[in-house]
Amino acid sequence: MHLVAFSAEHFRNLAPFRLEPHRRFNILEGRNGQGKTNLLEAVYLLSAFRSFRDGRNRELVAFGQERATVFAEIVKKGVSRTVEVAITPKGKRVALDGKAITSLPDELAHLSVVLFGPDDLVLTKEGPQLRRRFLDRAVYAVSPEYVNELRAYGVALKNRNRLLRQAQEGRLDPAVIAAFEKELVAHGARVMLRRLQFLESYRPHFVRVFSEITGGELAGGITYRGLGKASLADATVADLEARYRAVLDEARQTDLRRGFTSVGPHTHDLGFTIGGRPARTYASQGQHRAFVLALKIAELHRIHDAIGDYPVFLLDDVSSELDEERNAQLMRYLDSAGGQVFITTTDRRWIHLTGDTAVWRVAEGRVSAEVG
């Protein structure tokens, strides 16, 4: 799938633009702070209907403007569709083929996007939040209804946390807590099942790609870490509910004292290993980079399995952060795989692509095609 037309108005610092991206490589070149990442953010918004950056809706709209719009025409398996996202003071509005849509999950499948940005480069090193977010985004790229399951779990979790704090104030109603815990366990088990199922189908891609990148010297591994030490492989929803129920019962006194829920999928993590040892402590700098590169490329392969097409791949200034060898491997991969790619860079010399390439200059929020 690829974008054949792409435009935006009043989006962040970008001057209104309309461009016809190349169906293979689009290099967005410019100095820092000119708006390159904002362009990637606009593409991402058309897929996920939310930003990959933290912050308020309001910040997506240019200063002094009421609303921003982002629009694209997408060709997927030979069929052309349009998608438009408007950011207004009342929230976001999404229109697919000119018709407003309300049910998110069904429509998320219209455009698949994978982002590889600075946050991903530290996936193996930083805390679990980034890994959970990586996992959750990867899961809903292949299973859009996961959004609803994750949301329902979040509602149950927030309600339970509120009840725990009310209990601290002496307003403990065990029957009400019990009711919300049942919901927490039911939705939590579904969230875990989705993640585990995703990992089963994703892991072979990752293992293969990591081996290719590192010349097969050490094996890369990914495990799901949650609900204690015992393996969760082949667990059914009923197993997961029972296991979650057991750890929740055990944690209840602690949770009541602390006022928040300390167990469940919102605390789980991915374990990354190289040669069987934890990557975080044992990997060399080069191995860390190989690991994140393999994570991302495997994600593209996994989505290709699911939808029979490559997603749009957004690379936010990663070439300058990868070493020369990893960068060359990334470029070789991009050349050999299909799909549309947007790459931001401060210096085009990092980008060695033999495929067809369009270069867009980004300066002070203005996007222009490079002629020649």
């Binding site: 999950p105 069904d106 299973s143 209804e145 609803n148 399951e149 329902a152 509602v155 149950a156 927030k158 309600n159 339970r160 509120r162 009840l163 009310q166 307003r171 109603d173 029957a175 009400v176 019990a178 009711a179 919300f180 049942k182 919901e183 939705h187 579904r190 929803v237």
Partner: protein
């Protein structure tokens, strides 16, 4: 200078507080009312006035009522089943199906700790006593299927255990005329879990 007469402005402001009505629609409605013969505005005003004079809530089941008791509670032929719903509109929706002939109980909300709604904020005072009074044989929990609605049903299921009355949950699953392939997975999973034997 604001060319809008204050009376018109006031009406538009009041109308814009209605759900789904923006400032512009409210203004269009206000102008429309102004453009109609004055009898329309008079009957509209009368209808609004009568609303609070004549419509209230049933003191037994808390559904809409024109008297102390609603039409359902006054109907002696009703079966001894009590259907628990979130809102008075739900009663009307179920009545319109014509396939339920029991009593109701309107909670006027669901448990929602985040919004500060606990059991004390729902119309549950004397609920168990009411079940005894009507000699109920079954309670149907018909709250919605989102997290709060489910938790409310779970809570009531627990709470009503000691009464010995049979407690059931309204079914969820495939909508009539619905295609399986278009259903989201959680709905489909529930529909499978809630399957029944063929008659």
């Amino acid at each position: 200078m604001n060319a809008l007469p204050p009376a018109l402005d006031k009406l538009a402001t009041l109308l814009s507080r209605l759900p789904g009505v923006g400032k512009r629609s409210a203004m269009r409605w206000a102008f429309h009312i102004l453009g109609e013969p004055s009898t329309y505005a008079e009957s509209l005003a009368r209808a609004l006035g009568e609303l609070f004079e004549h419509v209230g809530f049933c003191e037994r089941c808390h559904a809409l009522a024109e008297d102390a008791l609603c039409a359902v509670c006054q109907d002696g032929t009703r079966e001894r089943t009590v259907c628990v719903v979130e809102s008075a509109q739900d009663v009307i929706a179920i009545e319109q199906t014509g396939s339920y002939h029991g009593l109701y109980h309107v909670l006027h909300g669901v448990l929602a700790p985040l919004k500060g709604v606990g059991p004390d904020k729902l119309r549950l005072d004397g609920f168990e006593a009411r079940l005894r009074d009507v000699d109920a044989v079954e309670v149907i929990l018909a709250t919605s299927t989102d997290v709060e609605g489910e938790a409310t049903a779970l809570y009531l299921g627990q709470r009503l255990g000691p009464t010995g009355v049979a407690v059931t949950r309204i079914a969820t699953g495939i909508p009539m005329g619905g295609d399986l392939e278009y259903l989201d997975q959680s709905t489909l999973a529930r529909a499978l879990a809630g399957r029944r034997a063929m008659d």
